[in-house]
Structure formats: structure tokens, C-alpha cells
């Protein structure tokens, strides 16, 4: 199978290690990976802040970049949720019927990483080893938009030498919410502080999630507090890259 990686603008720019881990993981599982270089950003920040019209050029670019792809895989629940939930409508709004048709055809071929691993490849043991105490943060989009269910936990349960710790209030939001963290910085900080407190209390050495954006938010507070907890993307754990835990806060 040939997979076209949508690495997301955030990973591309700030967390390339997550992208590299995704590539290594998929290749180790025998999947051929392609990176269409005309890809940029799905437009989530714009759409969710209310700048729908301003997002349309990005929608067009995304659809064209991946139109030929057999399967698109992205290491981000929130970007996949945006594409799945709003692309058919957004493409319609561009007023380009051909683009709208292509978008509607493309959407069912776009997968979040754990969906792809569990549903398409049918694997839960990816052969990884990660000798650390890890907290899993189910991000809001993993839980309530994509309904990833227990897919991430099943994948994590098969990782060797790893201890998965429980975090109190695990399913509550970390307070990121894109521009919410800036527009409503005080409420966001209050939510983040509770989340970080729960992670620290869990005794984890690392916190992992399916979204780099939430990890950036949580990691930002961990780094600011000088806490000895690393943030790692699920892809990095599943690729078995235990060197990331030596570093503090945000890897790379």
C-alpha cells in the first residue's frame, strides 16, 4: 500500500521529529510512504477562528496536493477532523464544482494515524519498545470528533517495557483550542494548570497524544515550570524512539 503523508503545518515547521517517526513507523510496517511536497496546511486555525473565506485557498491547495493519493495519513486528530467534517462544505464554498467533487471523493481516504494502523493495516502491535512511564492524553478531537475509542490505548498496550499511568481527569480538555489560548488566555491557562497538575501527579516521565498542538500547549507549561516530563507524539512512542525522553519538554 502506498500512503501519502499529510504531515501538518505544525509538525512540518516545529516538530519534524514527529513526521520522521511517522515515516519510520509506516515504513517498518511495510508501507510505502510518499510526501507530496505541494502540501501546506489544512486551514484549521482559520476555519475555527471564523475566517472561513480566508481558508478557502488552503482547502484548494490541500485537495489538489492529495487528489492522486491512494490513502492520506496524518499524525493529527484535529486536522483530520477538520478535513472530514468540513472539507466537502468548504470546497463547495469555493464555487469550483470540480474541486468540490474532488474534495468529496478525497475525504473518505483521509485517516488519522491510529485509525490507519488499526483499521486499515489491522495491527495493534507495531513492534515498538519504549522503556518509560508514559501518560496518554486523549485529545478532544481524538475522543469526541474522530471517536478513536480505544485504538490509541490498544496500540500503546502492545509497546514493550512501557508503563502506562493513569491521569486524573484524563478526558478533560487541556485548554488549547487554537486561538482560544490567545483570545481567552486566562481561562486557557486555568485549564492547562489543572491538566499539568494531574500529569505531574501521575508520575509520568512523558506524556503522549495524537496531536502535536495539544502537546505544544502542555509542553509549553511543563517547560516553563521546569518539570521533568517530556512531551512525545504517539508516533514517536510507536516508532520506539526512546531517546526523546532524555530531553525535556518539547523534543528537537
Amino acid at each position: 500500500m502506498r500512503v501519502s503523508l499529510f504531515v501538518t503545518c505544525l509538525v512540518d515547521t516545529l516538530y519534524p521529529a514527529v513526521g520522521r517517526a511517522t515515516v519510520r513507523l509506516l515504513e517498518r510496517l511495510g508501507v510505502e510512504v510518499d510526501f507530496p511536497e505541494s502540501q501546506t496546511c489544512c486551514g484549521q486555525l482559520h476555519v475555527n477562528t471564523g475566517y472561513r473565506r480566508e481558508a478557502l485557498p488552503m482547502v484548494g491547495n490541500f485537495v489538489r496536493a492529495f487528489a492522486q493519493a491512494e490513502v492520506v495519513v496524518a499524525p493529527s486528530a484535529s486536522c483530520v477532523a477538520l478535513v472530514r467534517e468540513t472539507y466537502p462544505e468548504l470546497a463547495e464554498e469555493t464555487g469550483d464544482p470540480a474541486l468540490a467533487r474532488e474534495a468529496t471523493a478525497l475525504v473518505p481516504r483521509v485517516y488519522e494515524l491510529t485509525e490507519f494502523l488499526v483499521d486499515r493495516l489491522g495491527v495493534t502491535d507495531v513492534g515498538a519498545r519504549f522503556p518509560h512511564r508514559v501518560a496518554y492524553h486523549p485529545t478532544c478531537h481524538s475522543l469526541r470528533a474522530l471517536h478513536l475509542g480505544d485504538r490509541p490505548r490498544r496500540l500503546l498496550a502492545a509497546v514493550r517495557d512501557m508503563e502506562l499511568v493513569t491521569v486524573e481527569g484524563a478526558e478533560s480538555c487541556c485548554g488549547f483550542g487554537g486561538t482560544f489560548a490567545i483570545k481567552n488566555a486566562d481561562v486557557s491557562a486555568a485549564m492547562l494548570s489543572d491538566k499539568v497538575g494531574a500529569i505531574l501527579a501521575s508520575g509520568a516521565e512523558a506524556v503522549c497524544a495524537a496531536d502535536s498542538s495539544c502537546l505544544m500547549h502542555i509542553g509549553g507549561a511543563l517547560v516553563r515550570r521546569g518539570a521533568p516530563v517530556a512531551t512525545v507524539h504517539l508516533a514517536q512512542v510507536l516508532a520506539g524512539e526512546d531517546n526523546v525522553c532524555g530531553q525535556r519538554g518539547v523534543p528537537e
Binding site: A17, N48, V187, A190, G249
Partner: protein, 474 residues
């Protein structure tokens, strides 16, 4: 008079004030987590919960689509049973109609139950102006009223107060210096205080949970039984309700009552459900008036996505699970409708209000609200939709447009650049130049002040993913 749907401040400012109150936060956390737990438990018992939700949503959508027909049917049914319907376009019309009826009946005191819609129209103030004292029969409403406060929750209006604060308030207002801060003692004190007043009442004013079009029936759901007194003892009963409260038939009521109790208070059935229609000679109120309030609802109906907010049955489940509400409480939303439903309802009822336009941004879009909503309102989708409505409205209005210009200009420029891989890559290089700003010592940047107060900025890597791919992988 203050419009109860117009926030006095933008949400971020009001939220900041609320966040500074540690007692408030503790009260909210305790109360919401208790209701949440109970709700999850009793909802889990219902096997066909999702089917029930879908059914309720379908009934509401159907009713809203044919609202003109059902309202006419309701009016005829009420009249047939000896009641009278009054139509009110806005809050001012509604409170004047009610005040005229009260004064016309010669009452100096009225008893109230289910007061949310009367809060929306600012009824108590107008009654006071005209020399009529309104007595709230609901314990929580009474707490709010005695404290000169405002409700901060749809179902538990005094959720922001703990029992010690309530004890102090009652001790003062009722002259009971030795009152114990125990829930039973507080409830008993309220009961004695109210009973004394009940018996002398000639006019009762109620809200409604549901209006049934085919029989002209009004359904009122409550926990204490005081409301039932308000609905049966007075000579004249005035019910004030939004036009969105209609359901077509009596059978439909069954669907909603099952959903409401479990969602609202985590009970299998609410303690008191009163259903009444019109006037029965010699039994109960001998005059019945139904005041139907629009107050922005028809306008909201015009928006096919936005109108789903009018399915709301005011169970407050979305408030109880909202992480934003849990931290700031209801007053920060500046409207009688707080929390996620308020964030989508208020700006639709008052589309011209600048402060109301900040409400759809009072959410991380975490989706917890949509998961619990018993009538399946897609609140996160609505929030995003209303944000774009706000952006376009700000654009159209010169002054506010100027305030938001930097954000708009930046996002527009980014939108264009991000649609072109070359320009995108150039911007990535800029992120690398900003490397020294990241990490623990991260500077506080203008425009990013909110972020950097409690979070470090990420440190950009030396090489983007795409460069790694080009240089090493391909």
C-alpha cells in the same frame, strides 16, 4: 432597563474577573462534578438513549419548521379551554403585558416559578416599578433574589454559592441568626419563609418547560413542589414562555420528559411534573394567560444551522460538562443563558451586540457539550459558524473592524501564503530565525502575551520536515 441578553463586558474580561474568585471556582467544581457523575450514571441505564435523542431532535426540528402552524394550533387550543394567549415581539412588550395583567388583577404580590424566561424579559424590575413584589418560589431562585444576585446556571441558578454563603444570606434576610449551614436546615427555613407567603397570593406567574399544541397544555417540571402551589393556589395564572417551547402532541411530551430529568439533575424522573390546560371551573386558577415571547427567536429561525439551538430544552447538561463554564461560572457570559448553549443562543438573539459576539469564542471546541446534549445540538459546529458570522459582522461595522484589524489582516495574509508551498517554506524559515525566543526563558511577545504568561514558546528546529525529506529521505 438592562437587557438580560446583552453582556456588560466582552467575555475574556468578564472571565478574568470570575477566575480571580477562588471560592467561586471551588463551588462550581464541586457542584458540576456531582451532577455530572449522577447524570452519567442514569443516562447509562437507558439502552436506547441515542435513539431517544435522535427522536427528540427530529420532533423539535419538525416543530420549528412548522412553527407558524403549531403556534396557531396552540393558541386555538388554549382559547378553547378558557385561556387567553398574548403575543410579545420583544422583552418590553412581554413584561408590559404581564405587568398590566398583574396590576389589572389588583395584586400587590405575585408568586413565581420557573423564572428563566421572566428573567430574560426583566419582569421583576418592571413589577417593582409598578409597586408589585415578586416572590420566587424555587429555593435557588429565592437565594438569588434575596442576595440581589443574578442566576448563574439554567437549572441550579444559585450554583455559584456554597451552603455557608447561603446560610449567611438566609440568616440575614430571614432573621435567623442560629441557622445551621446544613442543606436540610436551609431548605426548611426557605419552606417556612415561603409557605407563609403562598397562601395570600392571588396571582401566580410561571415559566414553562413545554407547551403542547394539540391540547394547549403547559408542562412545568420542578424539584420542590413549591411550583405546584404557584400553579394551583392563585386565582389568576400567567405563564410566560418562548415560542420555541412548543411540541406538537401529548405523546411527544413523553420523549422529552425522559430526556430532561436524566440530563438536568441526574434523576430518573423529576419529583414534580405539573401539566395543566386552560381553566376548570371551581378548581385551580380561574383565569389563565399564556404570554408567548419572540424576543429574537424568529430571527434565529431564519438561519438553518443556527436554528438548531432552538431545540434546546434547558437541561443545562452542556453547562455541567463544559470546562470553560466550570472555571468561570455563569455570570461571565453576561446573559441569562450561560455556558455552551448561551454562547450559541445569546449572539443569535442579539446579533447586533458586540459583547455577545465574543461568546462563540468562549470555547476550546472540546465537544463535551455536544456529547451530552439530549436534543443533539451540534454546539461546536454552531460555535464555529457563529464565529464566522461574527467575523463578517465585525468586518461590516467600521469601528469594531478597526479593533480586530490586525488579526484579520494577519490571518488573511497567512491564508494566502499558506496556500502556496514556496511562500509557506519562506515563512518556515522565519520560524527558525525566531528560535532564540523559545524554550524556558521564552520572551513575552507582543500579541502573544496571553500565551507566554504561563507557557514557553516552542523552539523551532534547525530543519523543517520537508527539508529533511528532500535532503535525506527522497
Amino acid at each position: 432597563m438592562r437587557d438580560a441578553l446583552r453582556p456588560e463586558a466582552p467575555f475574556p474580561a468578564a472571565a478574568r474577573t470570575a477566575l480571580a474568585d477562588a471560592t467561586l471556582r471551588a463551588n462550581l467544581r464541586r457542584a458540576t462534578s456531582t451532577i455530572r457523575r449522577r447524570r452519567d450514571q442514569v443516562v447509562g441505564e437507558v439502552e436506547d438513549w441515542d435513539r431517544l435523542r435522535a427522536q427528540a431532535a427530529a420532533i423539535k426540528d419538525h416543530t420549528l419548521r412548522h412553527l407558524d402552524r403549531y403556534l396557531a394550533q396552540l393558541e386555538a387550543a388554549v382559547a378553547e379551554r378558557g385561556g387567553q394567549v398574548h403575543w410579545a415581539r420583544d422583552a418590553a412588550e412581554a413584561r408590559d403585558v404581564v405587568a398590566d395583567l398583574v396590576v389589572g388583577a389588583g395584586a400587590r404580590r405575585v408568586l413565581k416559578v420557573k423564572s428563566l424566561t421572566t428573567e430574560e424579559i426583566g419582569l421583576n424590575d418592571v413589577l417593582a416599578e409598578r409597586g408589585v413584589e415578586a416572590v420566587e418560589s424555587d429555593l435557588a431562585e429565592l437565594i438569588v433574589q434575596l442576595g440581589g444576585d443574578r442566576p448563574s446556571h439554567i437549572v441550579v441558578p444559585a450554583i455559584h454559592k456554597n451552603r455557608f454563603e447561603i446560610r449567611d444570606l438566609f440568616a440575614r434576610a430571614m432573621g435567623l441568626p442560629d441557622l445551621a449551614p446544613e442543606p436540610t436546615a436551609l431548605a426548611e427555613a426557605a419552606r417556612l419563609y415561603l409557605r407563609e407567603r403562598f397562601l395570600a397570593m392571588t396571582v401566580g406567574i410561571s415559566g414553562a418547560n413545554f407547551l403542547v399544541a394539540d391540547t394547549g397544555a403547559v408542562a412545568v417540571v420542578e424539584s420542590e413542589g413549591n411550583g405546584r402551589m404557584c400553579l394551583t393556589l392563585p386565582h389568576t395564572l400567567i405563564t410566560v414562555a418562548g415560542i420555541d417551547k412548543v411540541v406538537p402532541t401529548f405523546e411527544d411530551l413523553g420523549v422529552f420528559l425522559r430526556l430532561l430529568a436524566r440530563s438536568a439533575t441526574g434523576e430518573r424522573m423529576n419529583p414534580y411534573t405539573t401539566v395543566f390546560s386552560g381553566v376548570v371551573p371551581g378548581d385551580g386558577p380561574q383565569a389563565f394567560h399564556l404570554v408567548l415571547v419572540d424576543n429574537g427567536r424568529t430571527r434565529a429561525l431564519a438561519d438553518p444551522l443556527g436554528r438548531t439551538a432552538l431545540r434546546c430544552i434547558r437541561c443545562a447538561a452542556c453547562l455541567n460538562v463544559c470546562p470553560v463554564y466550570e472555571r468561570v461560572g455563569g455570570h461571565a457570559y453576561g446573559s441569562v443563558y450561560p455556558g455552551p448553549i448561551g454562547a450559541v443562543l445569546t449572539p443569535q438573539l442579539r446579533p447586533d451586540d458586540e459583547h455577545a459576539r465574543t461568546l462563540p469564542y468562549a470555547s476550546t471546541l472540546c465537544g463535551a457539550c455536544a456529547d451530552v446534549c439530549p436534543v443533539g445540538i451540534p454546539i461546536p459546529r454552531l460555535l464555529v459558524h457563529l464565529r464566522s458570522v461574527a467575523v463578517r459582522a465585525d468586518e461590516a461595522s467600521g469601528r469594531l473592524g478597526a479593533r480586530l484589524a490586525p488579526e484579520r489582516l494577519m490571518l488573511r495574509a497567512l491564508g494566502r501564503a499558506f496556500a502556496q508551498p514556496r511562500q509557506f517554506e519562506r515563512l518556515q524559515a522565519l520560524a527558525r530565525v525566531m528560535r532564540p525566543l523559545g524554550g524556558r526563558q521564552g520572551r513575552r511577545l507582543p500579541g502573544l502575551g496571553g500565551w507566554t504568561r504561563s507557557r514557553a514558546l516552542p523552539t523551532a528546529p534547525r530543519r523543517s520536515f520537508r527539508r529533511w525529506w528532500r535532503e535525506e529521505h527522497r
